[in-house]
Each structure stands twice: as C-alpha cells, then as structure tokens.
C-alpha cells in the first residue's frame, strides 16, 4: 500500500503521535494463539441445543402442526411453536419507526419462503434435536409462489406478504422512494444520444467463517445473558425485548470479537428464540446456524435489477439520467426498505447530472429474506452505473476514463437529492489511477481539481 500524501496536503494535519501510526493490533496475539473468545467458545453444563424445523415449501398454508411425537423423543426438553412467542410478528426496523411488522419468529398459519422457521426443538444433544425435528409433522397446503420481481409486481401475482397487502414496500412517497431533480424529459429531448440498459444481480452471501449464533445462560435472577455474534448489541437487545415482551433490564448481551460480519449479523434472528428457550426451560441454550443455514437461510445481499436511461451529449456531458432500481427483499422486509432508499440517495453516482429521476422499489418474492451486506444499497448500483458509464463513453467514442472526468462531481455541485457536494475526491482518485495504471488522459483532466475556485 502506498499513501500519497501529496494530494490534499494543504488540508491535512500531520505530526500526531498515535493517529496515522501502524500500531500492531491488540487483538491479534489472541487470534494467533487461538485464545480469542468467540461466542461459541462458551460452554455451560446442561446446555440444550436448538434445531429449527424449516419449511420445505416456498409458499404454503399451514393446516396443522403436530409436535407430539417430537416431544416424546428421548432427550427432547421442549418444543416451541408460534403460540409460545409473546410478540411473534415483528420487524427489526420498528426501532426507528420503519414498519409495518411483517415477519413471524415462528411461522403462524403460513410460510412464505423455503427454509422459514416453523418449529424449534430444544434437546440435550444436537443429534436428539435433529431426530426429534424429523418427527414434527406439519401439514402444508402448497400455494403458488413468485420468484421474479417483475412477475411479483404484475396484477394478479401471488401475494407474498399479507402484512404489506401488495408485493412492494409502501413508502410515504408511494410505491417507491423518489428523487426528482431538474427536468429529465427535457434533458432526454436535447441529448445527442439516449442509452437505456438493464442490469441484474442475484443474492450474495456474506459467508463469514463463523456462522450466526448465540449461547444463552439464565443468570438465576430472572435475567438472561446472551453471548452473541450480533453486529449491533442494543439493536438486538431492544428487538428481543419487544419480541419476548421482556423488559430490557432482564437481558444482558455480551458480544466481543465476531468471526466476520459483512452485514450478515445485523438481523435479529437467533437471539429471541434462544432466550425464549432458556426462559421456558431454565436451561442454557445454544442456537448456532449450521453452514447450510448460513448459506441458504441467513439473509443474503439482495438481488437487484437496475434500469438506467441516460441522455448524453457528443461532448461527453450526461444531461439526463433516469434510474429505476428494484431490490428483491424476499419474503420479509428486514433491512431492505432502507437499502432500497439508500440507493435512491446514491444515484446518479459521483457525477453531476442536471436532470435526474430516480425510483427505487423494494419488492417481495417467495425467497430467503435479504438484508444488509457490505456496500448495502450501493454495491450493485455501482456495478450498473459504472458499466453504463463505460457503454456511454464507447457510444460517443470517448475514452472511458476521460468521460468520467467530464462528469465527475466537484465541491459545491448540487446533488440530485439536493445536498451540495462537499469533500469530493473522485477526480484525484482518477488522476492517480491514470498514473498507476499507465492509462493516460488529456492534460486538462490531470490539471483538474475537486476544489472549486472560491469554494
């Protein structure tokens, strides 16, 4: 790695003692000796193991659940169904007033994705829990499912989630988060070229080496300590408090070093049900996702579809950009409505475009609910934007890097969401990339600056 301190030297204060120093990490000695404690390194006598009975169907009505054989299985201590969960229908962003509650902790009357949690089995050993789980009888009436976002948005599509009433999230702005800036149609009308292209991704897993999980121990005083690898301690505690209708002072969450997160451990999934199990049995409970669960059950990065329509002038200026983004939330919201609107705030990318129109939709389908991941709401949009930039440059016969200089945002430029640009540095990154990659651009671009005269 090379630190290029010649850029922005006038605004940076050096000569600090600790900041800017490559100090050794204080946690690494624990890592290399195997002494760092992760949540699963705690083991309590009498600890029960929780295994989940999951939906084998993408969409089905539950006619009945029979847990009697499972309950009789040797080693089984308790079997939990929806009726055991005090506040079974929840949504995690309710803490910041983003509703409605749309997801069940344990399925109640219906499953909306293959893998959805239906019944929790608590047993003395993992094996006993697995054997008992196989004895839970669930009678399903399979319903039509929808997997394609375009299909889901068509009239007459199977309704994924009744708590929304339609297969998209309803923002205060309507069916999508909107950004309107300038007059996009007027921009297209005067453009020399129009290019409309569609981009698509599929779900991506965080794949941390440590799977999601927690170990819960009753403290003996009506409090429960939950050792967890959540990325957000109080966010998880407060949601657990709501789901279990248990005052927050009864809950003690202990985290620590997490074996990789990447956004995959901000859903509140394992803790509430494990704490409920500990409360109802009085025993420590371990609920740790298997690798199969981590790969297919835990929330992935959402699949997205991004449609970009640009109006561009022969001289390289983008004069109008219309972006329609679709985020595949899967069956439940989790963080997806927030991710979709984060996209709305991100487009049209780090470029100054005078006429912008953005619609971002959060769409429900019968698949594993998606949620946050590294680059949430932006990563796939950047793929779409930057491939589009390459296409536009080639369309008008311009070098792709020079084309970006022409459009790059600079200090003071008004963004589509009506914030003036501050602290821009795109131009300098591109100048340095031009040098490092031996990708020469015209001298006028190398002379540019993100600073505006007088700004």
């Amino acid at each position: 790695m090379e630190l290029r301190r010649d850029y922005f030297a006038d605004v940076r204060k050096d000569g600090l003692h600790e900041i800017g120093q490559p100090r050794p990490r204080l946690d690494s000695p624990g890592h290399v000796t195997g002494k760092t404690a992760y949540f699963a390194d705690r083991n309590f006598p009498g600890m029960l193991h929780l295994k989940m009975v999951r939906s084998p169907h993408h969409h089905a009505r539950i006619r009945s659940i029979d847990t009697s054989e499972a309950e009789k299985h040797p080693g089984v201590v308790r079997v939990l169904t929806a009726k055991d969960v005090p506040h079974n229908v929840y949504t995690i962003l309710i803490l910041i007033q983003i509703g409605p509650e749309d997801e069940t902790v344990l399925a109640d009357g219906k499953v909306r994705w293959k893998g959805e949690a239906v019944v929790a089995v608590l047993a003395e050993t993992e094996r006993a829990a697995q054997e008992a789980a196989a004895k839970v009888k669930v009678d399903y009436e399979v319903l039509p499912a929808v997997f394609d976002m375009e299909e889901a948005l068509k009239p007459g599509a199977p309704l994924v989630n009744e708590y929304h009433g339609q297969n998209y999230y309803l923002y205060d702005s309507g069916e999508c988060r909107k950004v309107r800036f300038g007059d996009v149609e007027a921009g297209f009308a005067k453009a020399d070229h129009i290019l409309e292209q569609s981009y698509q991704s599929s779900p991506i897993e965080h794949a941390p080496t440590e799977t999601t999980g927690c170990v819960v121990a009753p403290e003996g005083n009506d409090r429960f300590t939950c050792y967890t690898n959540t990325q957000a301690m109080f966010f998880t505690l407060d949601n657990t408090s709501i789901i279990l209708q248990m005052p927050g002072n009864k809950l003690h969450f202990v985290g620590g070093t997490v074996g990789g997160g990447f956004g995959g451990k901000v859903d509140v999934i394992v803790e509430p049900i494990a704490i409920l199990g500990a409360k109802l049995t009085g025993r420590p409970v371990s609920f740790i996702y298997s690798r199969e669960e981590e790969m297919q059950i835990s929330s992935p990065r959402a699949a997205e579809k991004v449609v970009i329509k640009d109006g561009v002038m022969k001289d390289g200026r983008i004069v109008a950009r219309k972006v329609t983004g679709y985020t595949d939330a899967g069956a439940y919201s989790r963080h997806s409505p927030y991710g979709a609107q984060k996209g709305a705030g991100h487009y049209p990318g780090p470029y100054t475009v005078p006429n912008v129109w953005i619609d971002t939709y959060c769409v429900y389908t019968n698949r594993t609910p998606s949620s946050a991941m590294r680059g949430f709401g932006v990563t796939i949009g950047d793929f779409a934007l930057e491939v589009q930039m390459d296409k536009l440059a080639r369309l008008i016969g311009m070098d792709p890097l020079e084309f970006r200089f022409i459009n790059a945002y600079r200090d003071g430029d008004m963004k589509a969401h009506r914030q003036p640009t501050e602290g821009a540095a795109l131009i300098e990154c591109m100048q340095e990339a031009s040098r490092a990659a031996n990708w020469p651009v015209a001298e006028k671009y190398m002379a540019m600056s993100s600073y505006r005269k007088g700004a």
Partner: protein, 334 residues
C-alpha cells in the same frame, strides 16, 4: 483457443455511516489509578479492528501510548449505547464519541496536573509519551501516572469523560427526494486487467490497481487490511458469488464452501493499493469509512475489462464463464 486480454476502469463514491443518520453512538472514558485509560463502549468488533482504532484515538487525545488504553466493549451491562457496527459507521461514529469523551477526561487530567504543577491548565500540553508539560518549558512536567494517582488519592477527582455522537436523522422529502443521506463520502477508482479464455469463458484477473480516498488512514496497516481484503471480495462478487446461481430460479443454491464460489489463494490478482487522504469535515481526525466501499469498484472494472477483452457485455452478476460463453456464441452467431 485464444486468451484475450482487456482492461476496464470504474470510479465510485460511498457514504459513511447509516443512511440518513439518526444513528447514535456513545462512549465513556476513565483513568485507572495508575494512569491507564479505559474506553467503555458497546460497539462490536467484527474483525476489522474497531477496538484497536478506538484505542489509538483515545491515546492520541489523552497523550499516552496506545498500549495504555484498554477497550471494554460489547457488553450491554457496562457499555453505553451504540447503534451497531455496519454501514461503515464504526470508526466515524464511535471514533467521534471517543474523541468527545477523551476530551472531557483530558480536561480533568490537565486540571489536576495544573494543581500539581501550580500553573494554569490552559498552559499545559501532553507529549504523547504519557507526560504533561508546560508549553514552552518542557522541563516542568509531571507524568500522567502521577497525575492519576493524585486525582484518585489526593484530589478526589474522577479523570473521566462522556462522549456522544449523533447525526440528526434526515427524512426524505416525499415528492422531490430531498434528503441528507450522509455527511461525508469516500472515493475510489479501480483499473482491472483480465484475461478471458474465449473457448471456455474463464476469466483470470491479472491486476487490479485501486486508488482509495478514505479521509484519513488512522492506522495505515489496518486500512491496508481492509482494502486488500475488500478488493478480493469485489473480484469475488464480480466473477463468482451467488446463493442462487440460476436466479430467479430457486434451485441449486450452494450450501458449503465448495459450492459457494470465492477465489482461492491460487486465484489472486496482483493487487496495488494507493491511498489518498482528504480529511472529512466531521470524521475523527478526518476519517471516513473505508470498510465497505473498497469492495465496490472492482466489480464494474472487471465487467468493463471483460468487454474490452472479448467484446461482449455481461450485465448480470456474477460474470460466470457460462454467461460469457453464451454471449460469445450469440456474438459469433451474429
């Protein structure tokens, strides 16, 4: 058979912190009797090194070496509230909270030192090595060790401070979308060079040259860790990763590390990292969040390089050999 080479560029920016703000983090700082400093938080370290960075921030603010700072975090019985570790917010939000808490603790520490040295607190400075001295007269000094002892046992003072950082929540305007998603943005530009086997569609990423502007590299070696690992993940996203390989068809989702594809140690691109620093107005020492954005620019850069190599556009992620081969066959068929 032909191995064809191409290169592509992409440039991006990325917001620091939770979208639209409203995401508080608090911190407490106090000294032990012998002048070590405890930072109490509830922020989570995911492996990115949040604890180390908070220790360096506190050390810088107080004026002690980093190894005299202890981080106590991720325990809801002791740590004040943190919204969580996500959205590239850890360093920015928790760092600011630690700065504020450490500032308050430092002020008490200087007041006690001033009493011991019989000078005004405003005339004192720290040397970064654990000593407090009179500005312009460094021979007149007292160690922070002695100041802490004095505070605890003689003066009855608590060298401690409270810190809080909150960016007020922005609510998007319904019709126009006017909003404030973030207060500062990191930037990046990546040039990727690839080889494409035009008979199999296989892609080899030869080099990635990444330029990242991250505000301030608080610990350059740890920044490098993030950026190198992120660059790998970006390439991985571009070419390999999906839980639903036949999306929107739900079949054949991988359930292990053999089926969920990521580049192995034999697939590594030659990776160059260059860091620029334009300090942000509201970041701790100007820092922005580098953790997420470093995995973004490689994806379109690789996609554009594939086009440059073989002349087909793959607009669907991941850019698998199959997608390239299908496009090449369609191209050949005219």
């Amino acid at each position: 058979m032909a191995i064809r080479r191409g290169r592509g560029v992409a440039a991006i920016n990325y917001p620091t912190g939770m979208n639209l703000g409203g995401d508080p983090t608090q911190a407490l700082v106090h000294s032990t009797p012998t002048g070590n400093f405890m930072v109490t938080l509830s922020s989570v370290d995911l492996g990115q090194g949040m604890k180390q960075i908070m220790a360096q921030i506190c050390a810088e603010m107080i004026g002690v070496p980093t190894d005299r700072v202890i981080i106590d975090t991720a325990d809801t019985d002791t740590g004040p509230h943190c919204m969580g570790t996500f959205a590239s917010r850890g360093t920015h939000r928790a760092g600011n909270a630690v700065i504020q808490a450490a500032k308050e603790a430092r002020q008490v520490m200087l007041e006690v030192a001033a009493e011991e040295l019989e000078v005004n607190a405003s005339d004192l400075e720290t040397d970064g090595q654990g000593n407090i001295q009179v500005k312009g007269a460094p021979q007149k000094s007292i160690s922070i060790f002695d100041v802490a002892l004095s505070a605890h046992f003689k003066r009855g003072r608590s060298i401690s401070g409270r810190g809080m950082f909150l960016i007020p929540r922005s609510y998007p305007e319904k019709e126009t979308g006017a909003m404030k998603p973030s207060t500062c943005y990191a930037h990046a530009c990546t040039v990727a060079e690839v080889e494409v086997d035009d008979e199999t569609g296989e892609v080899t990423v030869l080099t990635v040259k990444n330029v990242f502007e991250i505000g301030r590299a608080l610990n350059p070696k740890m920044v490098e860790q993030q950026l190198v690992g992120g660059s790998w993940m970006g390439i991985s996203h571009a070419l390999y990763e999906t839980t639903e390989p036949y999306y929107p068809n739900r079949d054949h989702g991988g359930t292990d590390f053999n089926q969920y594809l990521m580049p192995g140690p034999g697939d590594l691109a030659e990776t160059e990292i260059i860091v620029l620093e334009r300090p942000s107005a509201d970041g701790p020492f100007g820092a922005k969040g580098p953790g997420e954005m470093c995995a973004n620019p490689q994806i379109p850069a690789v996609a554009n390089a594939v086009f440059d190599a073989v002349g087909v556009r793959i607009d669907t992620l991941p850019i698998t050999p199959e997608r390239i081969l299908r496009a090449l066959k369609a191209q050949a068929a005219g």
